[in-house]
Symmetry: C2
Subunit: 310 residues, 2 copies
């Protein structure tokens, strides 16, 4: 992701040399990842300006998520951006301003032609192929209107690298969650009927399916398109393929990721009272699985550039 | 305040006919007042556009307050804006977007020349004459850099209309608070020593003192300057000077206002444990006082226009 981000942000800067640059992170959640992106973008701009000997632009960041996102927590953690930036060597000071923007990215979020760069990481998600087609097209159209000419986007989301939609890693992840639920049914903590009527819908598109939509729509040039395997544990930087140093900690990390995705659906179906217990059991199941192999997820990452209308 | 807001926003629109208009409310807190301003500005723009037969601009609102403000609550209440706007007759639909902007307005909040209109109501406050001079000048300079050419501000804050700084309504308000604290000392809920060493600093400037600073700085033209008496109870719309219909409810309303101003200082000195009890006693004291007379506060309201640099 880092090189894609670097190329996109760098190119926008070199093409436009803006005095003011607007960047939006869509579906930012309230976790630390948002702030990583923010500080990466600042560093990229800082390096660019050093290289070409230009004054840095003033950066305006918008952190977007649904209205019920914990923006208070997000704002409190903004101090960490300062810390991150101070660590970087050889950077120049880039003036930046950060706003929170509540609302769905399936609606308009910005005035026309007002955003230079959109970023979205693991926040685009679909429950069926039909919904994927409709909503992804709609998303691309909305952002097209909001981007300045020469504006770009870098998107990443869960995908699949096998043709069979039921095969692959997602089914392992689902299986471990089903096991956790099943143990709660056996202990009488979850009603059997509720368990039987539960369905966790998630559609993960292939790179081909994504490409077809972008090309059919004709609003963007695809600059890069990558498919890679991402560790479900975002803190496991170990490149050794199948050794997990601390399987208990890593299981807990994985459970957090999955919880952030599925908690709303689970709470909606079973009630929120079971959620803590469920994901604690899930973390244990994942930890056991990690003794055998790491959980890797196929991720699609693409950078898109707004087409010039001639 | 309404006519001042109307004139300022209307003039900016007519002068610039912007396709996109940026409005910031500084020190918005998380209460309903912020949303009143937001919907008023939208209505004003809507009326202007109807009058001149123009398409409305896209409005981008920034709601600013300190990082510890409850932005979650503020964002949740955004639905009320829709309700407010639907009630208005003869309006056209104005596209608008709302962001939260955490940070002190004694620092930079926006890129240069990016804001059309600043609004700030009861959020500018000073603890001494010296601080007033320094901070108010600094505030005006920061906003000058952030305003577009022909940009305007409407500010209102507590003032005084008597020369003697210790006279007038503020001393009544302080007195009733001191009474409440005193009763807690007598019941052993507050240490006498803490009470004796407590000092509630608040400097309220006269209109002359404000005018001197603005003119000395030379960055703005003063379009309007009003001094008026504002009821401490924001929900008391009754114009009959000295009849309070429900003195208990009105006392509670007044206590809320004063609490929003002084809670941080009180919690800092006495600990947050006493705050609920203290303001409940204070509400009772105010309710008793309201049987004699309403509590009216002198308020200064001014609209400023960025000077054109020639």
């Amino acid at each position: 992701m880092r090189p894609m981000l670097e190329e996109a942000v760098g190119e926008i800067y070199r093409n436009l040399l803006p005095e003011k640059m607007v960047v939006a992170d869509l579906g930012c959640s309230s976790g630390p990842n948002t702030l990583v992106v923010l500080s990466e973008v600042i560093k990229i701009i800082s390096n660019q300006c050093l290289r070409v000997g230009q004054q840095p632009p003033e950066m305006q960041f918008f952190l977007n998520d649904l209205r019920n996102n914990d923006f208070n927590n997000l704002f409190r953690s903004l101090d960490h951006v300062e810390q991150r930036l101070r660590v970087g060597k050889g950077t120049i000071s880039v003036p930046y301003f950060v706003a929170g923007l509540p609302g769905s990215f399936y609606g308009g979020l910005f005035p026309r032609h007002s955003v230079h760069f959109f970023h979205s990481s693991y926040s685009l998600m679909w429950i069926s192929q039909e919904q994927f087609h409709r909503d992804f097209s709609h998303f691309l159209k909305l952002r097209f209107d909001e981007l300045v000419p020469c504006g770009q986007m870098v998107l990443s989301f869960l995908g699949r690298n096998k043709k069979d939609k039921l095969d692959g890693e997602m089914s392992t992840i689902y299986g471990l969650l089903a096991e956790a639920l099943d143990s709660m049914v056996r202990e009488g903590l979850v009603e059997e009927e509720k368990f039987d009527t539960f369905n966790l819908p998630l559609f993960v598109p292939s790179s081909k399916e994504v490409e077809v939509i972008v090309k059919l729509q004709g609003l963007y040039d695809i600059i890069h398109f990558q498919t890679f395997e991402s560790n479900l544990d975002p803190f496991d930087d170990d490149l050794d393929d199948n050794v997990v140093l601390d399987n208990v900690q890593s299981g807990a990390n994985c459970a957090k990721v999955i919880r952030s995705v599925f908690e709303p659906m689970i709470a909606n179906h079973f009630g929120s009272a079971i959620v803590d217990d469920l994901f604690s059991r899930y973390a244990t199941n994942v930890a056991k699985h990690l003794l055998k192999e790491k959980l890797m997820l196929p991720v699609l990452a693409l950078s898109l550039k707004k087409k010039e209308v001639t």
